[in-house]
Structure formats: C-alpha cells, structure tokens
C-alpha cells in the first residue's frame, strides 16, 4: 500500500523531525510513502479563527492536492480532525478525499491493525490526549496502545489528562493570560506524573507544552508519538 503524507504546515516549518519520524515508521512497516509537494495547509487555522473564505479555499486545495492518494496520513490529530469533520461540509466535492485521511495512530491501529511497530525506547513517558484527537477525531486509546507495545516505554499516568493544555491556535496569543494559566496547570500535572517526557500526537500542542517546559527550565521533554515510534 502507498500512503501520501500530509506533514502539516506547522511540522514542515517548525518541527520537521516529526515528519521524518513519521516517514521512518511508515517505511519500516513496508508502506510506500509519497509526499505531494504541492501541499501547504489544510485551512484549520483560518477556520478556527473565523476566516471561512480562506478556510474554504484551502480545504478545496487540500482536496485537489491529495485527489489521487489512496490513503492520506498526517501526524496531527487536529489537522486530521479538521479534514475529516469540517472539510466535507466546506467543500462537499472533496468529501471522499477527507474520508481517506487518517491521523497516524488511527491509520496504524484502526486501519492497519498494527500495534507493535518494531521500535524501542528507554524512559518514563506520560501521554497527553490532545483535545482534537480525543473529541473531534475520537482516536480513542490508539496512541496509548502503540506506546504500550514499545519495549522500554514505561507509561506514567497523567493527572487530569483530558483537560485542555491551553494551546488552541490563535487562542494562545489572543488570550495569552488564560492560555498560560491552562498551560501551567498542565505542566504541573506533567511534573507530578514523574515522567521524563510527555508524548502527544499533535506538533502544535507540543510546541506550546514543550515551550512551556523549557521556559520553566524543566528537564522533561516534549516528544511526538511518531518520534517515539521511530526509535
């Protein structure tokens, strides 16, 4: 099977390691990976910010860029959620493309039935279920099942795990004070888990959480699910 990687504008530009890790995992499983170079952004940022015209144009563009792909995979719960849940309403003619789009853990566990991807890791991880993977896309426990199957991963429970980390795209700058207060609560929870790294399936939330950990001078690292699975 061949899969087309939608790396997301954010990972492409600010967290390329996440994209490289996703490629490693997919290829190790024997999948052929394509990267349609025309891809840019799915329009989630604009949609959430209230700019429907831009979001609609980008949704249409996404549908065209990935029109020929059999399966589309993205290392982002929120982009996959946006594509699957909003794009078909915005641009009905590309609904079939949206339906073929999966978040990485969703593709591996639900679609391919794989849990052990042949990676190893050494350390204590805690998993933060990002809001859109949890409540928009509903990936369920797929990411945790993948993590549990990695030898060397010790999974620590995250208190109040399903509470939002406070990122929320534009929210993080428009409502910086509240966003920071929400982040502080999340960082406290991560610290109390005793983990040495926090894992999630959204590079955007991890940018915010990781940036907060660094600002605090915390030794805890923020790692993407793909990066753990690529190890």
């Amino acid at each position: 099977m061949r899969v087309a990687l939608f790396v997301t504008c954010l990972a492409d530009t600010l967290a390329p390691g996440v994209g490289r890790a996703a490629v490693t995992v997919l290829e190790r499983l024997g999948l052929g990976v394509d990267f349609p170079r025309e891809q840019t952004c799915c329009g989630q940022l604009h949609w959430n910010a209230g700019y429907a015209d831009e979001a609609t144009a980008l949704a249409a563009r996404f549908g065209e860029v990935f029109a020929d792909a059999e399966v589309i995979v993205t290392p982002s719960g929120s982009c996959a959620g946006h594509v699957r849940e909003h794009v078909p309403t915005l641009v009905p003619r590309v609904a079939h493309v949206a339906a073929r789009t999966f978040e990485l853990s969703q593709l591996l566990v639900e679609r391919l039935g794989v849990e052990d991807v042949g990676s190893t890791y050494a350390g204590r991880l805690t998993y933060h279920p990002t809001c859109h993977s949890l409540r928009l896309l509903r990936v369920g426990d797929a990411p945790e099942r993948l993590l549990r199957a990695v030898p060397g991963v010790e999974l620590a429970e995250l208190p109040e795990a399903t509470e939002c980390c406070g990122f929320g795209g534009m929210f993080s700058v428009k409502n910086a004070a509240v966003s920071s207060a929400m982040l502080a609560a999340k960082l406290d929870a991560i610290a109390s888990s005793g983990a040495d790294a926090v894992c999630a399936c959204d590079a955007s939330c991890l940018l915010h959480i990781g940036g907060g950990l660094e600002r605090r001078g915390s030794p805890v690292r923020a790692v993407h699910l793909a990066e753990v699975l690529a190890g």
């Binding site: 390329p16 840019t40 209230g50 809001c131 929210f171 409502n175 910086a176 940036g211 660094e214």
Partner: protein, 473 residues
C-alpha cells in the same frame, strides 16, 4: 444599585478581564473545587442510565421540534394559560418586559417583591428596573442572596456564588445581616439566611420567577430548584409573575419526562432536583390569586432566523458546559462580563445582543477543546457555534493587524511557490532574533506567546527540503 444590565453600553473585552481574573487565586481555587465536585457527580449519575446518550438525542430532537413550531406553540400556550385564569403578556425586549413587571407589581400594591432564582430576569436587568421604580427586589435563592448582599454579579448560572467560599459568606452575613456571632458552619449560614427570608415570605404580595419550561398543550409552567425557596415564592405570594424566554416552550407534557431527567443530572449531578414546581394558571383557594406570564423575545427570534446559530436556543441552562470548561476554570465567571458566562454565554450572548453592544472578544474566549459539547445534554455543537460567531465578528469588525496577517497567510498557503518562499524568508528574517535555535525576541502578537513559552526558530532544513534532498540521493 447593582449593575445587572450586563449588556451595557461599554462591553469589557475578555482578554483584559481574564488577565486580571487569573491572578485571583482565591476565586480560582473555589471554582476548581466546585467544578471538580460537580463534574464527578455528573459523570456518575449520567453513567447510571443505560439510555443516557439516547436521552440526549431525544432532548435535542424535542427542543428542535419546539423551536420549529414556536409560531403554533406560543399562541397555544397563551390560550391554555388564559383559560386557566392567567394573563399572558408579550415583550419584544428587556425594556418592555421590565415595564410589564413593574406595572403588574405596582397594581398588586407591592413595595417589596420576592425573586425566585432566574437567569432571564438577570438578563433583562429586572432588579435594577424594580429599584428605579421604587420597588425592592429580594433574592430568595441562597447564593443569589449572597450576590445581592455583596452587590456582585452572579458568576455561574446555577451556582451564582461559586466564586465565594463560606468564610467569605460568613463575613458578608455578619456585616449585612448584623449577625456578629455567626460562624462559617454551613448549617448556621443556611439558618441565618432562612430566618432572614422566612419573614419576607410571610408578608409577600408579589413574587417573580423565571421558568425552566412551559408546556403548550396544558398551559403549565415548570420551575426546578434545590432549596424550596422558589416553591415558597410560587405558592405564598398573592400575585405571581413569571418571565420566560419564548424558546422555553415545549409541545407536550411528556416532553418534560426527557427534560426533567436531563436537567438535574447535567446541572447538579443529581438524579432528581429536590423541588419541581408545576402550575397551570390559578386555582381558587390554593396558591397565588393572580398569575402573569411574560413571554420575552429579546433577540430570540433573531437567533431563530440564523440557521447555523439556531440550536443555541435548545439550551436548557444546565451549565454542564460551564463546569466542563477549562477556560472558565482559570477565570471564573466575572471575566466574561455577561449574564450567561462560559461556553454557552459565548454563543448565546452575541445572538441575544444582536449586532451592537457585545464584546467581539467573547466567541474567542475558548480553545475549542470541545469538552463543553461532550457534556451538553441537548447536543449543541458549541465549538461549531463559537466558530460561527467568530466568523460574524471577523466579517463585521475591523481586525487590524491580525486580520491583515491572516488574509496574507491565506494567500501564502494558496500557492506552493509563495509558501516555500515564505519559509525561506522567515528563516532569513528571524536571524537577528534567534540564538541557539530559539527565538529570543517576541514582538507584536508573539509577545503573548513569549510570556510563558519558548519558541523554536525555523530550522536550517524544513521537512520538504529534507524530502527533496532524500529524493535526489
């Protein structure tokens, strides 16, 4: 006079109000504890019912059905109430509703009027209107009374004094009720309020309530509550006035079966609320001698006419969304500067207030985490409606630098060449601000980010550059 007319001329923007609110540790601790308690109870009692999800479907469907038939249901309700000896009034807006209530209360010879806890009367600023007319409103719900004595706005739909703990309430009662010996034992506090209110109940001429629902086919009005003070008001006063938003009507008696299961479980996490009062007009020798029902529009027909926003009118004011909200958790209710706070407020207030008088910042007071929609008993797609309201703001107000940046970004994303050029440009422009792969100066909109977070710089190689290299190899 307390400022309850929340939709006042100068709306306060959420981000600046919230910035102050997040430093109020006392309120945040109270809110967090209250949220945790109510959340846990709601989850437990919802899990008791095998058909909870089906009940939510039924709740959404019956509310939608009512909303699509208001044109028939409201005249039917009027007819049934009138036939049962009640009087129905129609109020286009808050001002008309307040005039009607003042007129009726005066005609009944009241100086003091008892209030049953009611959001709708808060919404129209009724207490202030009564005071202007020389009438004294007395809140009878314990927490509302606390807010009234403290001269503060309620901060939560159902737990209006959620921002206060019992020590603060003790101090307030000591001062305002002259009870110097009072301790902060909940029993004693309740007893003090009870003594204060009991005398008022016995001399009451007029009481005013809101309504949780009204059944069109029978003309029955329904109020649910926990304390029984509402029941005192609705039965002891000579004249009862109910102010109800027109969207609260339901078609049939059996609709209550669904709503009265959904509401207490979602609201307080109880299987059943302690008091459910239902009355149909007036009855000789029992309860009030006169009953007035004020049907209030105040923006509801406008919301009804917006096909995307219409489901907001399904809301049964259970406040589950508020209890689930991580933003409310950090700020409490006052930061919203509205009667309806939290997620429901952010989608309802802009609809009720119409084009003017509403802080455009309200629909943006959310991270769109979706916790609200997961608990809403009538399945309102709150994040979807927040985005809808954001769109209305973006289209109607100047968005300045932010708007220009987002429109430009839209153009950048629309072309691969422009996007790749922008990546390279960002890498060049960031140079003076970057040290060791981290952005060191946070200017413009990035200042908010930099207040609590580091930001990685655009790395030497983007993903697509790496891919192109690998392809060539």
């Amino acid at each position: 006079m307390r400022e309850l007319a929340a939709r006042s001329a100068r709306p306060v923007a959420f981000p600046s109000a919230a910035e102050a609110a997040v430093t109020d540790e006392q309120t945040r601790t109270n809110v967090r504890l209250a949220q945790d308690t109510i959340r846990a109870r709601r989850v437990a009692v919802a899990a008791e019912l095998d058909d909870w999800e089906a009940l939510r479907d039924a709740g959404a469907a019956l509310r939608d059905r009512s909303l699509s038939r208001l044109r028939d249901l409201l005249p039917l309700l009027e007819d049934r109430v009138t036939r049962s000896g009640g009087v129905v009034h129609w109020a286009r807006d808050a001002e008309e509703a307040n005039e009607i209530v003042v007129r009726v209360a005066r005609a009944a010879g009241a100086r003091e009027v008892l209030k049953v806890k009611s959001l709708t009367t808060d919404e129209i600023g009724l207490n202030a209107a009564l005071e202007r007319a020389g009438l004294r409103p007395l809140e009878t719900d314990l927490a509302e009374l606390v807010c009234q004595l403290a001269d503060e706005r309620p901060s939560h739909l159902l737990v209006p004094a959620i921002h206060k703990n019992r020590t603060e309430i003790r101090d307030l009662f000591r001062e305002r009720l002259g009870l110097e010996e009072l301790t902060d034992e909940p029993r004693e506090l309740a007893e003090a309020a009870r003594a204060h209110l009991r005398a008022a109940f016995l001399r009451a001429k007029v009481a005013i309530s809101g309504a949780n629902a009204a059944v069109a086919e029978t003309g029955t009005v329904c109020v649910v509550e926990s304390e029984g003070n509402g029941r005192m008001c609705t039965t002891l006063a000579d004249t009862l006035i109910t102010v109800m938003g027109i969207e609260k009507v339901v078609a049939e008696w059996r609709d209550l079966e669904v709503l009265l299961q959904l509401l207490p479980r979602s609201a307080t996490g109880e299987r059943m609320n302690p008091y459910t009062s239902l009355w149909t007009g007036v009855r000789e020798g029992d309860g009030p001698r006169a009953f007035h029902l004020v049907l209030l529009d105040a923006g509801r027909t406008r919301a009804l006419a917006d096909p995307v926003a219409r489901p907001v009118l399904r809301c049964i004011r259970c406040s589950a969304c508020i209890n689930a909200c991580p933003v409310y958790r950090q700020t409490g209710g006052h930061a919203y500067h509205t009667v309806y706070a939290g997620p429901i407020g952010a989608i309802l207030e802009p609809q009720l207030a119409g084009p003017r008088g509403q802080p455009g910042s309200l629909p943006f007071a959310s991270s769109l985490c979706g916790a609200c929609a997961d608990v809403c008993p009538v399945r309102i797609d709150i994040p979807g409606l927040l985005v809808h309201e954001r769109g209305r703001v973006v289209r109607s107000e100047r968005q300045g630098l932010e708007g220009a940046s987002l429109r430009l970004l839209g153009r950048v994303f629309a072309s691969r060449e422009r996007y790749e050029r922008a990546q390279r440009l960002a890498r060049r422009l960031q140079r003076p601000a970057v040290r060791e792969g981290r952005v060191r100066w946070f200017v413009g909109p990035l200042a908010g980010w930099g207040s609590s977070r580091e930001l990685p710089a655009v790395p030497p190689q983007t993903f697509r550059e790496w891919w192109a290299d690998r392809d060539r190899a």
